[in-house]
């Protein structure tokens, strides 16, 4: 018999964890001498009060969609992919190479090939830790952490020594050609008669991200591969007994995960910056962890959590602009969300399970 109904596990526990995180964040804001109510007001206004705010919120959310899905896919196979940051960086590199060196006639074609470049590079960066985990038993958490740092060094080298245009000062590539620049939400929505902020970075990648959610949902729950991935995640011995090859499944899962992280580059590199800069990922790879945990590794949950974190990031930027609260507040909130929904899950879960058991006894 289940200890508690499914809705409690899927909705109640994340919501309580989130409230706990919010409560402590409010305390932190109080302690540094600001008003939490005012802060929340500013954040809501700044992130959701205008199409400009929404444009940024959705832009950040798109980044987190990809990295969140990546962490979620890996988690279904029982793998903790902490290397999203590096995979997204290398994905950006692949994308930049495609956009810079292939002349595209139109952005739609550019988008397809750029996505291929970014996805393949991201997947390749995840392939080595995946192989080492599958074949040699090296812990994937440690190897992916190491690969984040190696990716940063690779990116740094490529930008400074190879891709930087001659004579340029800052380490970044040249701007991508006009035909390899993606339309923003403003350009997409204008023909439909919807007024959307011109300067916000949200772009067509949002729809790619939403499509990725649907594809991942179908993959995990409605394909044989998804079944294999989940079986491996539940019990490796069980999976082997069912004739599933752990080596093959780990490899494929991590390739998908790395590919998804790589795809993030369409949004931040091709859609926003329109060139590759050094710190393009801005920690989005790590936020994927919080997003996946919060979303319970389900694409719809990931979608909601990505919007939430998009809101937090844009709201946090606004806070830093108008108050004395630095944008690092968001890092604290993110940490608390990871802490409560991930590490301290049992602290929330056990009392709630007890309450449900007690209620059930009363009913009987």
């Amino acid at each position: 018999m289940e200890k508690m109904p499914k809705w409690a596990d899927v909705v109640l526990i994340p919501v309580i964890s989130l409230l706990l995180a919010a409560l402590i964040s409010a305390l932190v804001i109080l302690l540094i001498g600001e008003s939490p109510v005012e802060a929340l007001n500013l954040m809501v206004n700044g992130a959701l009060g205008s199409t400009y705010g929404w444009g940024y919120t959705l832009y950040y959310a798109t980044n987190f969609l990809f990295t969140g899905l990546a962490v979620a896919v890996a988690a279904h196979a029982g793998l903790f992919n902490i290397g999203g940051e590096g995979q997204a960086m290398i994905g950006g590199l692949g994308l930049a190479v495609v956009c810079l060196y292939i002349p595209f006639p139109h952005w739609t074609i550019a988008l397809i090939f750029a996505a291929l470049g970014a996805g393949i590079f991201g997947a390749a960066w995840a392939a080595i830790p995946a192989y080492l985990q599958a074949k040699r038993g090296s812990h994937i958490v440690i190897t992916t952490i190491m690969f984040n740092f190696i990716a940063a060094a690779v990116l740094n080298y490529m930008l400074v020594n190879v891709l930087k245009p001659k004579g340029a000062m800052d380490p970044s590539t040249a701007k991508f050609p006009e035909t390899a620049q993606l339309p923003s939400l403003h350009e997409i929505l204008a023909p439909l008669g919807i007024e959307f902020s011109k300067s916000a970075p949200a772009n067509v990648t949002l729809f790619v991200g939403l499509a990725a959610c649907v594809v991942v949902w179908g993959l995990i729950w409605h394909t044989p591969l998804g079944h294999e991935i989940r079986a491996l995640g539940k019990s490796e011995r069980g999976a082997v007994y069912a004739g599933i090859s752990p080596v093959r499944t780990v490899m494929i899962t991590m390739l998908i995960s790395g590919g998804l992280c790589g795809l993030m580059a369409i949004n931040n590199v091709m859609g926003e910056a329109e060139r590759l800069v050094l710190n393009a990922t801005e920690g989005a790879g790590f936020i994927g962890i919080a997003v996946a945990l919060m979303g319970r590794n389900h694409p719809f949950g990931v979608f909601l959590a990505a919007i939430l974190f998009g809101f937090l990031y844009q709201g946090g930027a606004e806070l830093a602009l108008w108050t004395n609260i630095p944008s690092e507040l968001i890092v604290v909130i993110q940490a608390l969300v990871i802490l409560f929904t991930g590490a301290l899950d049992n602290m929330v879960r056990i009392p709630i399970e007890k309450i449900f058991l007690a209620l059930r006894k009363e009913n009987v």
């Binding site: 932190v28 302690l31 540094i32 001498g33 903790f80 902490i82 080595i128 080492l132 040699r136 038993g137 090296s138 812990h139 958490v141 440690i142 190897t143 952490i145 190491m146 690969f147 740092f149 190696i150 940063a152 060094a153 690779v154 740094n156 080298y157 400074v160 020594n161 790590f286 962890i289 945990l293 004395n324 609260i325 630095p326 690092e328 507040l329 968001i330 890092v331 604290v332 909130i333 993110q334 940490a335 608390l336 990871i338 802490l339 991930g342 590490a343 301290l344 899950d345 049992n346 602290m347 056990i350």
Partner: protein, 335 residues
């Protein structure tokens, strides 16, 4: 490269290796007891901030050190609560603590000092300064002779150069970190506590059967880890540099983790690994790129080398790194 340059690079490596070594030994205690800790970085960062902040406010570096250790211990307590008491995922807990430290330090720094997330620069009394060993040439001698220190060192004999530059003149925490190596070895391999601590990382059920508290031992290990990370962070902010700046650990916690794997969870090897990684950092700091027989090694290779070496070790191409067997598993007492 002449002898003196070599000595200076080694001297710098020693200083770069110190925080790595302390954090590496911290991780050693924790992981030997079966608690993975990828939150070394966060604990160091937290300690770096609080040590610099308290040292800046009180002007006393020892109070700063204590504050640093206390803040690192607080994070350790949280890690213990999550991963020992509530049997949560130790890796996720570590990730959360790293973010917590990274955000809180800037938040509090901004609120206390209003200098864009940093502490004011520390004056002499607020820092751990170099200790002059007997017979070494130091700033005091230079002042007495009325000549620049570098000139006097240059004229000294090789033995004196080695002694004055490399062995003498470090802050007390550098010597503490070196002493921590034999101490760690002795505690882990020559005391009953150490035996139990290692046992709890290999087979907690056996320790439990013997009537010893698994949770207690693991909390002790996590506590020692916090203490050592606290010293490491304090050294960063009050010894190596004069004050806290945002994200000043810059991945050192992860390099320490890499060194721990490189050393295969053994104290003396940890010293070797940290000195090697310290040397890499010192070389990267001093030379932008290195000429090696016609090849130019770019500085980014030096940056990435500790991580690449660790991956190679992890892959088992050069000896196999086998972590403590019960590492990462929360212990569920049978009922």
């Amino acid at each position: 490269m002449d002898f003196l340059t070599l000595i200076q690079v080694l001297d710098s490596s020693m200083r770069m290796a110190t925080p790595l070594l302390l954090a590496c030994l911290a991780g050693l205690f924790s992981e030997r007891a079966g608690i993975f800790d990828i939150g070394l970085e966060g604990k160091m960062l937290m300690a770096a901030f609080f040590s610099a902040a308290v040292a800046a406010i009180t002007g006393n570096v020892w109070l700063g050190l204590l504050a640093g250790i206390a803040s690192s211990l607080a994070l350790s307590g949280l890690h213990g609560l999550a991963s020992i008491t509530f049997r949560g995922n130790q890796l996720i807990s570590g990730v959360a603590l790293n973010f917590l430290a990274s955000g809180l330090t800037v938040l509090i720094a901004q609120s206390w000092f209003q200098q864009g997330g940093r502490t004011p620069s520390l004056m002499t009394a607020g820092r751990f300064n170099g200790i002059e060993l007997p017979f070494a040439i130091g700033p005091a001698d230079a002042e007495a002779a009325g000549r620049p220190l570098s000139e006097m060192i240059k004229e000294a004999s090789m033995v004196q150069q080695l002694y004055s530059e490399l062995i003498s003149g470090h802050s007390i925490l550098v010597y503490v970190s070196l002493l921590a190596v034999p101490l760690t070895w002795w505690v882990l391999f020559r005391t009953r506590f150490g035996l139990r601590l290692r046992a709890v990382g290999e087979n907690p059920a056996a320790v439990d059967t013997a009537g010893i508290s698994v949770q207690g031992l693991r909390f002790a290990a996590v506590g020692i880890c916090g203490l050592l990370c606290g010293i490491a962070g304090a050294y960063l902010a009050t010894g190596l540099q004069a004050g806290f700046v945002k994200e000043m650990t810059s991945g050192r916690g992860y390099i320490a983790l890499a060194a721990l794997i490189f050393a295969k969870w053994r104290p003396w090897h940890a010293l070797g690994a940290c000195l090697l990684f310290g040397l890499l950092q010192a070389v990267a700091l001093r030379f932008q790129s290195i000429q090696l027989g016609g090849f130019t090694i770019p500085v980014q290779v030096m940056d990435a080398l500790p991580y690449i070496l660790t991956v190679v070790i992890l892959a088992g191409f050069v000896g196999k790194a086998i972590p403590p067997r019960a590492g990462g598993d929360p212990y569920v007492k049978e009922r």
